[in-house]
Amino acid sequence: MRGYLRKDGRKGIRNVVAVAYLVECAHHVSRLIVQRSGSEDVHLIGFPGCYPNKYALEMMKRLCTHPNVGAVLLVSLGCESFNREELRRTIHASGRPVDLLVIQQSGGTTRTLNAGLDVVRRMRAELAKQAPVPMALNELIVGTVCGGSDGTSGITANPAVGRCFDWLIENDAACIFEETGELIGCERIMASRAITPELGREIEVCVEKAANYYRIMGYGSFAAGNSEGGLTTLEEKSMGAYSKSGSSPISGLIKPGDIPPRSGLYLLDVVPDGEPRFGFPNISDNAEIVELIACGSHLILFTTGRGSVVGSAISPVIKVCANPDTFERMSDDMDVNAGRILQGAELDEVGREIFDLVQRVAAGETSKSEALGHQEFILTYKQFEPIGPACLPAA
């Protein structure tokens, strides 16, 4: 494996130029810059809201200084409330090239587009000069998410990812699993895996928070496709999703933007704190992926039964397909056929395939979604309190 060394000591497995819109009104101009740059290494990210939000600012800071990002162009309309100067200062302090274009000052769409294309061209030329350095597994952070789960997910793809997680952690990587709303019913088992009883209690409380939140929303994290694929209840889906975590002890409970301080297994709490205010915790799978990336994930293992096609901006997404019929139908989108476990393949064999693929993709091989140009991104309003002292016991 090799990576791009950043000033904070972290290494990136990609060297992306991020173009970030700071309000929906700057989205189109930013998209044009990305499209006309003609490069797959220029990624579009952004925040659509005009009202300020501490979470969104912190997330954008983490994303723009993610190790896979080499340089950032910020695009503002001009009148939105986003604290663009604070974001620009943070990126600058991280040692990355950063530029800010304000559409109202640049003279509108065309002038901003042309200026943006110049900036991106210069940034790409600068990044091209950067030579990668060797990178080891103990410098890698891997996140996992499931989407479009069905009755096969918990039998094939999820436990296979769990095996891969166990081996990554044996090699001193950090691994993150998430969506406490999809772990409802597993809280006691998870708590028993925590490295301290106090952390175990925090885990139980955070799943309780998720259950309350979803109850108020009126829906659990359970989509129509889940039931069409044979899943009946949220706790059934949870038990399947939970197996992605493997069997390592749980070293910590983190929130979006918290970076694992060392190797081990971490649970990411994605459900906002306080009274439900801005709607569903994560409106779609990519919202979870973006949060895993904000926690430093270099790449994402995405398990799917029904068949998701999404990728992500910033970090490559590896698709592990749980259902052998789905794999046959959508093989162009799938990196791993874990469904063959139902046809007699061993869990360890598929886990090993994922483990090997993680290292190859980290070394530069493109994943299927990456090669197809999937660079989905979504960031919405949320609010969080900082984690408590019991959440990272060894820190």
């Binding site: 096969t152 039931s227 949220l234 039964g305 046809q343």
Partner: protein
């Protein structure tokens, strides 16, 4: 092992010895004869890959176990081999939803 070999694998999967449901390893047609707990059993209705069947007759309010863990309670009694899904199993946490707006209750 090739997909053809998989046809020789038992079509019903018991995930944990404590479970009172089994999972279809592949689509199984109505009338197909399969093995359930060592006995030959006639599948009463077509069942799709990933769906659940009752391992034995289950009374209403029975806790359903999958992976050895509770995944909800029966809201109606079912016979052995019957499809266990939204129409007869409910969450003990939050109701499930389906596309036509029917919930799991």
């Amino acid at each position: 092992m090739s997909p053809n070999d998989s046809l020789r694998l038992p079509p019903l999967l018991l995930l944990h010895p404590d479970d009172n449901i089994v999972v279809a390893r592949r689509d199984i047609a109505a009338g197909e004869r399969v093995e359930l707990d060592g006995e030959s059993f006639l599948i009463p209705a077509t069942v799709e890959l990933g769906h659940k069947l009752a391992r034995r007759a289950l009374a209403a309010e029975t806790r359903v176990l999958k992976y050895g863990a509770p995944i909800g309670s029966m809201k109606a009694a079912v016979a052995r081999g019957e499809h266990v899904h939204l129409h007869n199993l409910r969450s003990d946490y939050i109701q499930s939803t389906s596309r036509d707006g029917n919930d799991g209750h």
